[in-house]
């Protein structure tokens, strides 16, 4: 039994999510390799080699892998992943895009978004926006799995894995990268921040988000949003927390002007402490909040910033 983890990176930096996926892999078995597929990404391979308990890093560098196009990377995986019993990636947009393509090519089912490893073939995963937790058992020869990173503690960086280069360069010619519009931020990543401050429709506008950003900066927090705030154009899509956005589980989640729809709760209800600030005492968000404050957020948020 050996396990291949697909590294999450941007050719420069290894993303934190990879450390959580390696932790999930180690809950399955001891022989864990990490695939770094990209272009000019040897720094990423060096960083991955430091992950505690990893055996080998497989480094595949090619223009065809630069933008993580699923068509090309799945073709690479069919070559390099032949001998693994498990293939794991984060339940990120990269992992979700790539792994089902690999699973279908291998003619195996995929298990999405696992939150625990019960045994090497049995896992728990949320369904129905987290309103039910299914325990599922696979009988497939290869287990293709995406991992909810917030459910596994990141491994540390005391390792010294060997880096093995593979020279395989597959461009299927089905797809091509055109452009990226990435959001630059100095704040911590939403998925791994200790504190998240989120705003909803109640924020009223994109400009008003500046009071949340200012609070977030004082607290060292990431900034999130509800779907309504994203749909209204207040903030970009990468900030959406929820069933169909990002899943977060920080120590502290502050929801301001968010009503608490099932789909939003699905993305944050595993946070350690939840604070809700809403001027409607009946808002469902108060049912999951540890501390609820019925107040106008435009008064409460600046006051909070002054007090922390």
């Amino acid at each position: 039994m050996s396990i291949l983890v697909i590294a999450e990176h941007n050719n420069v930096e290894l993303k934190d999510a990879t450390r959580n996926v390696v932790a999930a892999a180690q809950a399955i078995g001891a022989e864990v390799d990490v695939l770094v597929a990209g272009f000019s990404c040897s720094d990423v391979a060096e960083a991955a080699a430091k992950l505690t308990g990893v055996r080998n890093i497989i480094l595949a560098e090619s223009k065809a892998y630069e933008h993580q196009l699923a068509e090309n990377i799945s073709a690479l995986l069919l070559e390099v992943a032949k001998d693994y019993s498990h293939i794991l990636a984060a339940s990120s947009t990269m992992g979700k895009n790539l792994l089902p393509r690999v699973a279908a090519a291998l003619d195996v089912a995929q298990i999405s978004d696992i939150i625990s490893v019960e045994s090497p073939d049995t896992f728990k995963r949320p369904i129905y926006a987290g309103n039910a937790i299914a325990t599922v058992q696979s009988a497939e020869p290869v287990n293709v799995i995406t991992v909810r990173t917030t459910a596994f503690d990141a491994v540390s960086t005391t390792g010294a894995a060997q880096i093995i280069k593979v020279f395989n360069d597959i461009d299927c010619g089905l797809s091509a990268f055109v452009s990226d519009q990435l959001v630059e931020s100095e704040r911590p990543e939403l998925g791994s921040a200790n504190i998240v401050v989120s705003g909803g429709r109640g924020m009223g506008s994109g400009e008003n988000f500046s009071i949340l950003e200012s609070l977030a900066d004082k607290m060292g927090a990431a900034v999130g949003a509800s779907r309504a705030a994203v749909d209204s154009g207040f903030v970009p899509n990468d900030m959406q927390v929820g069933q169909t956005g990002k899943i977060v589980a920080p120590d502290l989640y502050i929801a301001a002007g968010i009503s608490g729809a099932i789909q939003h709760l699905a993305g944050m209800k595993d946070s350690k402490y939840i604070v809700a600030i809403n001027n409607d005492p009946e808002a469902p968000i108060f049912q999951v909040a540890d501390f609820g404050l019925v107040a106008d957020l435009f008064e409460a948020i600046p006051e909070l910033e002054a007090a922390v």
């Binding site: 196009l69 699923a70 990120s92 279908a104 309103n131 937790i133 299914a134 696979s138 502290l252 609820g292």
Partner: protein
């Protein structure tokens, strides 16, 4: 160009489901069922392509029980031209659905296939990508913009860091995200008209596809409930509690 859209009948997104007493699944008896919201967005996109003169026919397909006919009729009322129900009482997994759709793609030869990125019941987010693998097509997942241009389609995708645009050779597979469009409502006359549109029924067997589940559901449980919280009366009290009780700031 022909556009094929797949739709799934799921529990309505407003329903908060409960787990069965015997932990075998969730209780859907009497629950309101609707078209999966991401599939609605897929249908809408296909109809817009037809209205723009890019598509000339929109075919909708559903894999599911007899009642999924209603979901197909809804899509026909929204503007799709013809429906195909691949009827089965089995709980078909994503791979099974993708295999059925692969056969339908072989028969129909669409120029573009549009699916929802995820169904809000199983939350798998797999079928489109699997269909792309099985048909050997390119995939534009989590789309917030789809621009068909001759032999290719430019798809802007919602990714974790922002947006990414890729160009795919046609035929291709697209899966929808929330911001792709805002689906219309069906008008009463169109609902009446939809009753006369063609709806064909097939089965996985007639298509030669084995849809037996590969993954066993051992049990389904309710998530751990959060313990009841408290109401605070001021920001000062809140900060006090966060410092003293929670120790998170």
């Amino acid at each position: 160009m022909k556009v094929l859209v797949s739709v799934k009948r799921v529990v309505d997104y407003n329903v908060k489901v409960r787990v069965n007493a015997d932990n075998s699944g969730v209780d859907l008896s009497n629950a309101k069922m609707s078209m999966n919201p991401f599939c609605e967005i897929a249908v809408e996109e296909a109809i817009r392509l037809k209205e723009k003169g890019i598509a000339n026919e929109v075919v909708v397909v559903s894999v599911g029980p007899k009642a999924a006919q209603d979901t197909l009729r809804t899509a026909l009322a929204l503007g799709a031209d013809r429906g195909i129900l691949v009827e089965t009482e089995e709980q078909v997994e994503s791979l099974g659905v993708a295999k059925v759709l692969q056969k339908v793609v072989q028969e129909e030869q669409p120029g573009l296939v549009i699916l929802g990125k995820q169904a809000i019941d199983s939350d798998n987010n797999q079928t489109g990508q699997m269909l792309a693998a099985l048909t050997g097509m390119g995939q534009g997942t989590f789309a917030s913009e789809v621009l068909v241009d001759g032999e290719s389609v430019a798809v802007t995708r919602e990714i974790d860091g922002g947006l990414q645009t890729v160009s795919l050779k046609l035929p291709a597979i697209v899966t929808t995200d929330l911001r792709l469009n805002e689906p219309r409502y069906a008008s009463l006359p169109n609902i009446m008209k939809a009753k006369k549109k063609p709806l064909e029924t097939k089965t996985p067997e007639s298509l030669g596809v084995d849809v037996k589940p590969r993954v066993k559901v051992l049990k389904v449980e309710a998530p751990e409930a959060r313990k009841a919280g408290v109401q605070v009366n001021s920001v000062a009290e809140l900060v006090g509690k966060l410092k003293a009780e929670a120790g998170v700031i």
